[in-house]
């Protein structure tokens, strides 16, 4: 984790894309394609940065990621079904019409990400940071969200039905049409006073 190679472009401190020489923005077409080919062909990834990438219509189902960065990415119609994520970061990403269902994820962050039509259904989402997300038309239903956080997020037309919400911090800044049906909301932390008074 974190020992990403830096971009070879003078003055650029961004991590190199998929172990190449340049960050996604400075990578030439061939370098980007090489990184995308690696993503498609391998099944396990450790300590690689895909930050800033634009990924569309890719099936990454069942792959395993440890210590990888997807920060500032634009993901559209990407299948992460049944993937494993540990210590991975999706902060500030724009994620649209992606499938993260049946995920095994622990100790990851989606902070400040925009989620549109994204499914996390039937997943293990333990210790996941969803602070500041804007989620529209998303579902987390049938998932274990133990010790995850939804602080100052915006949730619209989003389902969290039949979820384990034990130790989940639920402080949405905005909430419209959110269903917590069958979820143990009493075990979630929804009152700041519980923490500080």
């Amino acid at each position: 984790m974190y020992n990403y190679l830096r971009c070879a472009e003078p003055g650029c401190e961004k991590p190199a894309f998929a172990g190449g020489d340049h960050c996604y923005q400075h990578a030439r077409k061939a370098e980007r394609e090489k990184g995308l080919a690696l993503l498609a062909s391998e099944s396990e990834f450790r300590d690689l940065s895909f930050a800033g990438a634009v990924l569309e219509d890719i099936n990454l189902s069942g792959k395993q990621f440890w210590g990888c960065s997807f920060m500032d990415t634009r993901l559209r119609s990407v299948l992460f079904t049944s993937c494993h994520f540990s210590l991975c970061f999706f902060d500030r990403s724009h994620i649209e019409s992606c499938d993260f269902s049946h995920l095994q994820a622990q100790f990851c962050s989606f902070g400040a990400a925009d989620l549109l039509n994204v499914s996390f259904e039937s997943s293990e989402l333990v210790h996941i940071n969803f602070d500041g997300i804007a989620a529209r038309e998303c579902t987390f239903s049938n998932s274990n969200l133990y010790d995850s956080r939804f602080i100052r997020c915006e949730l619209y037309n989003t389902d969290m039905e039949d979820c384990d919400l034990k130790r989940v911090y639920l402080f949405p800044a905005k909430e419209e049409q959110v269903s917590y049906k069958y979820s143990n909301t009493m075990e979630a932390i929804r009152d700041l006073g519980h923490l500080y008074q």
Partner: protein, 203 residues
Amino acid sequence: MRTKLYEHYSLYDFANCYLLGDEDRKEALIVDPAEFNASILDHIEKNNYTLKAVLVTHNHLHHIRGLKTLRRIYDAEIFAANATVLGFACHVVRDGETFEAAGFQVEAFSVPGHSPDSMIYRVDELLFTGDSLHAGIIGSTLSPFNARALIERLQGGVLKLNDDCLVLPGHGPPSTLGVEKRFNLGFEDGFARKMCAPTDFFI
């Protein structure tokens, strides 16, 4: 330097413990050994690391409980704001000090508030924030005065760092500094006034 970061979730008061290894030198440091069990030991030994240093973010038992077991196995130097922790002599670190631990350059930030001895350690873009800064919230304090002190120290110190720094707290999920600057409840106006009394949630 090729490095590996390993996070261990301790069921003892739900604390996070981190192991940072240097793959070239095969040396490692551990941050807040909440416990020291077979899982952590296996990780150290399977990677052929020598555990050289311990960073203590603050002297609360559920973050240092594994220290005695650890010191029976490894002769690791302990870095903390206190002269002793659980009876072990420590290398006392000060605010702004940069020191070497297990081959890593570590910068220390003193952030009293959650406890008088609270420290945050920076290793490159990794921030080990202990109980001072968590994802979305700041650490609990005993008074609004302490809360204000903590917020001021965070805003005057680590919050000036790069947005891409990873926040690795003593409890709960990880985050990035940019997200904390924008969404942490502790940095909302008037937050310190809301904090009236102690809590046992993160003691």
